[in-house]
């Protein structure tokens, strides 16, 4: 029997269309980013300073949140605290109810993906429209984003054309410009009618209580400008200390996410509109969301809370590039998801994710804040072995292996036997047949390359003898 994770991976690996889409997306994006980060003056130093700023925030996250809250209140915003997604959704529904708000437009937000806000709003009878082009298409498909900054990395242009034809009744096209034009028409109407705007936050500046949002399309500006109420849902880890730090983070985020020097629109929000202003929201609410983050902070993977969600680690990950985002099963895919998801949702149900990595370290190389992702994956694997119950077969197997591996003569003899046995099973260089005994479980979801005819030691002796 396959686990749900193994089943998702099996489906992804067999989906040719997915591979076309993923290749087109990650190849280009990965190349652009690495070039862009290297064009930044002093890029190594900038990354060090940015990392330092994030770690400082995390070392006193509670104190920093209180200071941030104080600034927000002084700026005229209303602050709410949510322990989990349900609380966050309830807070937002109460705001909507109190003001009689019915039509919601949303900016791209991973935090509200986490809380399943759209479903909660729809259930309460509110109309919700995602306005980022990728998220809009995800919403039409009743699917979920598969990449942190490129929600439809799993779809080809042909997929999008067929979807729009079916769902909004426009003529089929595979031209991205035409497709974006269709979305613009639909969304423009939604923006003009909306009375509640909901966004995430890329950064919150402790020093000034500034909320910072970056978008390329301008949807973030629409959402924060036109509706009379704006709600920001932000994870409690999204703080940076000062405006000077924000400057650095904006530089590395744009470069690492899309390869731009700066995103087209950087929106800095410091309170609701002033009484004499013609535009802007009358009310600004900030919902500070924990939802498992404080649990992550307590442990070995606390460092992951410094993640700025640029998505760079996805584009270079050999696993992500083959299975795409949906195989990871939750909001955050890729190397970052393999750490964040078990942290937010509990290791017990997500223990396979830390294993979904080759530990090649490409993610650590590209991470703009130098998160040591492989170290954290290893510590989660360790936690799995030490704290979660393992099947009896595995425990016995590991014991036996330990005994054999510490006796070289025995090890060599048994290895020789195993090699002979596996070579006998192999076809065209691969062992794909069922293997009996303890290895059967391992082989169920893996193919094994047939062992070489000679071991390294045998080869060594043979060469030495000959030369």
């Amino acid at each position: 029997m396959m686990s749900p994770f193994q089943e998702r991976v099996r489906v992804a690996l067999g989906d040719r269309n997915l591979h076309v889409a993923l290749d087109r997306a990650t190849a280009q994006l990965g190349g652009r980013q690495s070039m862009a980060l290297s064009t930044l003056e002093n890029s190594d130093l900038v990354r060090d300073v940015a990392r330092r700023a994030k770690m400082e925030i995390l070392r006193d996250l509670g104190g920093n949140l209180k200071r941030f809250e104080g600034q927000l209140l002084a700026n005229g915003a209303q602050v709410h605290w949510a322990e989990d997604g349900r609380q966050a959704n309830r807070i937002i529904l109460e705001i909507a109810k109190r003001r009689g708000l019915k039509r919601v437009v949303k900016g791209k937000s991973m935090a509200t993906e986490e809380t399943h806000l759209n479903a909660a709003l729809a259930k309460a009878g509110l109309e919700v429209v995602e306005t980022d082009l990728g998220e809009y298409i995800v919403q039409l498909a009743e699917s979920r984003p598969s990449h942190i900054i490129l929600p439809i990395a799993h779809m080809t242009r042909e997929d999008v054309g067929r979807l729009m034809e079916q769902r909004i009744g426009v003529p089929y096209s595979d031209d991205p410009r035409t497709l974006a034009g269709y979305a613009r028409e639909k969304l423009r109407d939604a923006f003009l009618r909306a009375d509640l705007g909901i966004t995430g936050a890329n950064f919150g500046v402790v020093q000034t209580g500034t909320i910072c949002l970056v978008t390329n399309e301008g949807n973030g500006r629409m959402v924060t400008t036109l509706p009379k109420v704006h709600v920001v849902v932000m994870g409690i880890e999204k703080l940076v200390p000062t405006m000077a730090d924000l400057d650095l983070f904006l530089k590395i985020l744009a470069r690492s996410a899309t390869g731009q020097k700066l995103t087209a629109y950087t929106t800095l929000i410091r309170g609701p509109k002033k009484p004499d202003e013609e535009s802007g929201p009358e009310e600004l609410h900030v919902v500070l969301l924990d939802n498992g983050r404080s649990r992550i902070l307590a442990g070995e993977t606390a460092e992951i809370l410094g993640c700025i969600r640029c998505g760079a680690c996805l584009n270079v990950c050999p696993i992500y590039k083959n299975v795409g985002g949906h195989a990871y099963g939750d909001t955050y895919p890729g190397p970052i998801g393999a750490i964040v998801t078990p942290g937010l949702r509990g290791l017990r149900d997500w223990k396979e994710l830390p294993g979904a990595s080759t530990l090649c370290g490409a993610c650590r190389e590209v991470c703009p804040v130098r998160l040591d992702i492989p170290r954290m994956l290893l510590s989660l694997r360790k936690e799995c072995v030490e704290q979660l119950p393992n099947p009896l077969g595995l425990r016995i197997g590991m014991k036996v292996y330990g005994m054999v591996a510490s006796r070289p003569a025995l090890y060599r003899r048994l290895a020789k036997l195993a090699r002979w046995f596996l070579r006998a099973l192999a076809e065209e260089g691969w062992v794909k047949k069922k293997v009996p005994g303890l290895a059967a479980g391992w082989m169920r979801v893996r193919d094994l390359k047939a062992p070489a005819a000679m071991t390294f030691q045998e080869l060594w002796r043979a060469r030495k003898g000959g030369g």
Binding site: Q28, V49, M55, E83, A244, A264, Y265, T267, D290
Partner: protein, 209 residues
């Protein structure tokens, strides 16, 4: 809700004790000096970056040239504008027919060109900084398909860091600050670039003396 606040803060206090937060390289500074350049270098870099972003740029020698340039650009088109009094180079004296941020949303959305001044500009990235305030409706640089921004040479900063540092007070007074770097764009469908999704697909900068 204060219950949730207390619970989260208590958990964070507890978590802080066992959190594993590896340190940074020992000689990492707390912050970096912002970059600054001479006005001439700023202007040159600004123009170069705007060109790379696909922004139409006009460098004018006098206030009268700026007015003429703007009049040529907006002639015969439906115009949405900042309060003309807030535009530089006495542009108010020339503008006759326009819509303002006070008009209905539909009227504003139907405009073809949005005309704004610019509170600051960042040379290093080719960015325009617009601070919100009375008479400076945020929709002007957002709703129409074309945005024309009039920039005074003296408002140029080299880096964003320099602007943040030197304009902290102005930033504190404004509820919203928008930093515009080129036209609205998306690459969500197979990373194929499309301009003008929700914001203006065409950005024009007129730089005056």
């Amino acid at each position: 809700m204060s219950e949730a606040r207390a619970a989260i803060l208590a958990r964070l206090r507890e978590a802080q004790r066992t959190a594993r937060l590896p340190g940074e390289r020992p000689d990492t500074p707390r912050s970096l000096e912002f970059a600054s350049r001479s006005p001439e270098e700023c202007l040159e870099r600004f123009q170069k970056e705007l060109a790379a972003l696909g922004v139409e740029t006009y460098l004018e020698a006098s206030a009268a040239d700026v007015r003429n340039r703007v009049m040529t650009l907006v002639a015969g088109r439906r115009l949405l504008s900042w309060d003309p009094e807030l535009l530089p180079y006495q542009l108010a004296s020339m503008l006759t027919s326009f819509i303002l941020g006070r008009n209905t949303r539909e009227e504003q959305a139907a405009a073809e060109i949005g005309l704004t001044g610019c509170d600051a500009a960042i040379a290093e990235t080719g960015s325009l900084v617009l601070l919100s305030g009375k008479g400076k409706s945020r929709g002007v640089s957002l709703l129409p398909a074309t945005h024309i921004a009039v920039v005074r040479r003296g408002d140029l900063y080299f880096s964003m860091g320099e602007f943040f540092r030197k304009s902290a007070e102005r930033l504190a007074e404004s509820a919203g600050c928008t930093i515009i770097t080129g036209p609205s764009r998306t690459a969500d469908i197979e990373l194929s670039l499309t301009l003008g999704v929700h914001g203006p697909g065409r950005v024009v900068v007129v730089i005056g003396p």
